[in-house]
Subunit: 298 residues, 6 copies
């Protein structure tokens, strides 16, 4: 019994070098949304609170595609997708914002606070954190690769600049900021922005120590579908080749691009890890090897 406690104490002690080296650094964590099981979410939230208590500043950016789709369905608002991007008209944008800000964000905030952290929900409109502009129309190519037409995406936006003052202020006063990927345009209008991009841009503006992408895969594979070929550490160069070679595809492309962008702009380390793995954040941080794929400078 006592012996068991001692083993636990050993674990705490083993984590000491990691605690020391990350003390007062900032970690931006992209959190996939609320489709995961409750128990996994609770684990993630516990990990985040622990980071805060041992002197690290976690900043959360969340997504929420499935919840958005669910509510749009309830309201009979059908979304068209172009090149994987949701065409977002005004009515859709209103629902996107309500779901992200009024539902998903508050669920994360509430869970963090319930387990002992002090979270504050933010959107890119609060304090004009995420200034954005309309994304250019998407080009659709015909089967021969020729431009067939341009499709206006509506209120899908791109990040113009991040103003991190409010985020920094909250971190310094002991809060954990939880950010919805909504940007504000020139006339105050809302934009739907890719959450991976927001996480990357926020990490850059904070000169974060780490950008951690919680996904539902356990990393990037050399050979698609073959876990035995998981890449532990991937240079920017290699990553760009793998995208070009279609070794990295689909939803993983924006994540890897967000990592490349972050590493190229002052973020020390970026990690793509499996959020469904229990305590994946702590494992990534408190073990030498880590668990997912790390994208790093050449």
């Amino acid at each position: 019994m006592i012996q068991q406690f001692i083993q636990k104490a050993e674990v705490l002690i083993e984590s000491l070098p990691y605690i020391k080296s990350f003390s007062s650094k900032t970690f931006v964590i992209k959190y996939g949304g609320s489709t995961m099981e409750e128990s996994i979410k609770r684990d993630i939230v516990h990990d985040i609170i622990l980071l805060k208590y041992i002197g690290i500043n976690p900043v959360i950016v969340h997504g929420g595609g499935p919840e958005i789709t669910a509510y749009l369905n309830k309201l009979n608002l059908k979304s068209e997708f172009v090149n994987g991007l949701r065409v977002t008209d005004k009515a859709t944008m209103e629902v996107v914002q309500m779901v992200l800000v009024g539902k998903v964000n508050q669920e994360v905030v509430s869970m963090i606070n319930l387990y002992g952290g002090k979270a504050v929900g933010l959107t890119g409109k609060d304090g004009n954190i995420i200034v954005s502009k309309k994304r250019l129309p998407e080009t659709i190519y015909d089967t021969e690769g020729k431009t067939e037409k341009l499709v206006d995406l509506g209120f899908v936006g791109e990040i113009e600049r991040i103003d991190p003052k409010l985020i920094i202020g909250l971190c310094e006063h002991g809060y954990i900021p939880v950010i919805s990927p909504i940007g504000v345009g020139f006339d105050g209008e809302s934009y739907n922005i890719n959450a991976d991009d927001v996480a990357s841009a926020v990490a850059q503006s904070l000169k974060a120590e780490k950008l951690i992408m919680l996904t539902d895969v356990d990393g990037i594979y050399e050979v698609a579908g073959n876990p035995a070929t998981k890449i532990t550490s991937l240079t920017i160069n290699k990553a760009q080749q793998m995208i070009a070679n279609s070794q990295i595809t689909g939803g993983m492309i924006p994540k890897v691009r967000a990592c490349i962008d972050a590493v190229s702009n002052g973020v020390k380390r970026t990690h793509i890890i499996d959020g469904k793995e229990r305590h994946s954040i702590l494992l990534e941080i408190f073990t030498d090897k880590g668990i997912g794929t790390m994208v790093i400078e050449d």
Copy 2:
């Protein structure tokens, strides 16, 4: 032409004694929601920004009943009302929160930022600002005044305590907090709370100089429906009598009670004014007479 400018300068100079006397004081403003015309909303927002720039700390609490009803209708969620309170089941509560936090709050934040302020949206869940508990079941009386039955209101809450630290911190750093009337319960659950009560409780916790209720009437009348009998200044005692005498009725009761509660707990002045009147906030503050009804200590 120059003469006209000089008259304008005179107005600025006339406002000087008011600016001086309110410098660095806090005003909590209950803002009815977003059903008003755009132009009125813009005026209110301008007034609020002006307060901030001349050294007053405005804190906004918003409501949003009509928007909630509209969305519930779109989603075919019918609300039952008991004694004027919406019975709020889990699905309803989710919509309430989405509309208040993800729509109404962000619209206010966005408009303030568009016109040059720096607003930050908050809910009572952020930083556990509004700790709440479930409201007791409502009693329904039969026509003879006997208790007929008790109706559980679901996620309708009461305020247990306000933690104003986050609000104060944001004010001190130049932000205008905009608060949605959502409380957090013991298990992290959300509660729908009366916005008048939230405004009053926040004002008390901040020891505010003023609590200003923006309504759609221009004050309280001695004789119902007779604007000529508008009361400029109403003591707590008199207010309580008027409620007992049914001179004050309906939706005005919670507003007056919120004012009484505030004045009894350290808020200097409370005002019930007509938000549709242009620049009503400035008029109330920058004229000796004010424009609505002021509820004050005996």
Copy 3:
């Protein structure tokens, strides 16, 4: 009646963009002295206090030639003037200092405090703000333009350097500094310094947003004496040409030179405006067009 108040509120709101853009900036105001009517002085003082309350830091530099002359006459001390400069022997200097510091400065301070500001009178000797040296003797030319003789000016001084720490400290603590144009020499002796030069040098040392010269003319005319040819915006180059061409003459020359010097050394804007015009400071600041002549970079 209410309608009239609303118009007043509109004026406040119209001033908002100006208040925002000048927030926490410094304005140095050269104030001609106390020969003006009481009511004009009161207007000027109100304007200055309003600036302070809306977050601008006004710093006042005053002159006082007429009051000096009046007291010298009472004491039978006759002044000789050379090239427009008063030859200032020791007895004269004592009177100059008494009148500027003990009379004019305290009148300005007293009036600001009476109407609700917090002014503090300073001379260049307090905290060694204005370190000066004796001005070289003035050359008098004969009618053929040859040097006829050199005249020693006594205690007329030039500015060697400004130490703005005391001024800045007072501004930050909510005070309005009012500065007499007295400099201190190497041995602690007092020097009589041109007030326009002091205002310009102080503005430079504070990297002021604006230097405002309150005069008794409403600006600079393209054609002397023709108000219809008033120049709204004058570049340094043009100003220097106009001095060379004798389009600018007499007492206006040191004012324009002081403006040129200020603009060339980091002061954003300089304005020559008519102090007798009611609320001229506010008009200059809170209207797009302004009212006098602005001297700006090329």
Copy 4:
């Protein structure tokens, strides 16, 4: 030679206990004016600067009766005196203020700055430091002790309250405040106030460690005119008896009363010493016995 330096070092070391015990305390010094010899003034100023450098906060209040009389004579303004107080009409008050603020104060400031201190001149009007009211008319008694008539004193004032914030702020930032005994009335008018009273009131408002009255006598004598009966330490009680017994007379009465008032209101020690004695301030402070008369609590 070296031996002589060593003796000097010994003196510094001997002063150490005094330096330690007075570290960061405030001393208010009433300085009689500028009639003294230059060399004595220089010694006093050196003593004051030394106090500042060893961590004491000196605050100077000066008088200036003789200089005022001299200038009034030059201007042919004759003063009437009633019970030792100058009847001060508006013209006289203007001269009083000009001489005190524009001449005497600036001379003290200038000398302190010349020898290495950082002095700032203040009047009771700056920052409304000395709020005053008109002194009641003086009663003149006939030879039989009956009231003969009341004489209005014009702008002779009494202290209503001291606001020490500006003085404290300047001390904390390394400056030595030098205060002219001019008070400000309700309408902004100037009042001529007894400098001993100002020194006492300022010392009280600052909770000063010491109030030091520099006079031209070396203390209070038990037997008038007999230096052998000098009293080293005088209790309030004894002092009041001596005034009642006419052992203390004339100009010494207001000084002793100012000391009594100070000691009764929180000033630790008050000293009446001979300013003409070289380095009298240091002697009073850095020797156990002191040199003048100390007025202390019973």
Copy 5:
């Protein structure tokens, strides 16, 4: 393998509530000296560093009897003991101080710094932290309980007062203070003070959350020598009875008295635990039951 890491993460998460509840509290730890095995010392030091990194302020007080005895022997200085106290003449005191301050203290400091903390060694003489006086002579009783003689203990001291400013300052700047139990007397002489008393007095002066006595027994037994009767939680009353009943004896008495004294003077909890048990500090803190005996208020 991953599974094992996950279990480790679980341990970290389990410690979260404890980390939260002790955040920014002070723990004073009495550390018995350096006779323990290296590996145990290393564990203790790791525990202390971990406390610091998770936001607790550990303050160490060390003893060192065995090392002192060893050096006295090498120097042929024989110590007499009276009632368990070492008679400490001047030569002995010099050795006591050299061993405690120059050897034991620096070993603890060095080990903490080696494993990643920032320790600073202090004695009670540094900044006059521990002001002491000579302990009264010890009474020796003959076998019949009569006073036989008084023995002067030399430089054995008692604590007069603790000045915690230096300790607090070091804690706030991230350091771990390590204190030798040497007090300073009125004339600057050193006193040998019981380390348990120093730990208790320091804890009181810091209003510490916990005083932890690391000993070589695992707590206090109801029945001497019977580990099965270990008392988990002991009230002051009970503790005093047990001393009176000789259930607590020998070297445990001063430890228990130090705990009683601490609890009676504002220290929340005191713990007597076995320092040889691995990670005993963490076990005591991070488990609900703890491991030793806790002395608490009645």
Copy 6:
């Protein structure tokens, strides 16, 4: 009698320019140890405290060779010296540290505190102030100048870097740091370091105004042994020549080298003065000529 006091006051006044010019500067003082007479030590300590009170930050580095030797003798530990350096095995190092840290340092601390300063003892291990490494073996040459053998010096160390944060923090909070010349190695081991080198390195890391070496000679002589040829001011170049020419020899070499090193790395002035001369520190500082030899830049 009074006359005598006045002369003393004059001395204080004469010191004013020096006090002003050194205000808030740092002086590092190498203090030879405790072999001096008590009265001399008391004078030195008084001088140091006076420096602190007049606004200078003294930092003390002490040596202690004779005390070390005395204790090593008592313990029958014989030291071998190679090229003037003590071969320091582990047992010797333990004694070196105990004597320096536990005896000499605490004596200096205690005396400073006794006379009114606030000293804190430090070693290079506290807060890892002095990070060191093992010194290379010393080469012994035979009579023909050929390398005869290499001798390992044991725990004799060299300075790798100084971390002055702890020293600066203590100075800013009013303490006088007293530093023992013990360095900490990579594995936490202690190193015996030359105190002159420590004083020089500490002065460099603090960008000290002065490094003052208290020795037992009154400076450097042009002609060895001839006090009449004492050099007041010695350039680095000249100093290096004099070492090369053997005009500077023996124990003076490391002192001069430490001064050269300091001056070459940002220390303004270095002084070698006679600590046995009474008040030599004050004489050096408060007289224009000073008393010893000053080593300065070319």
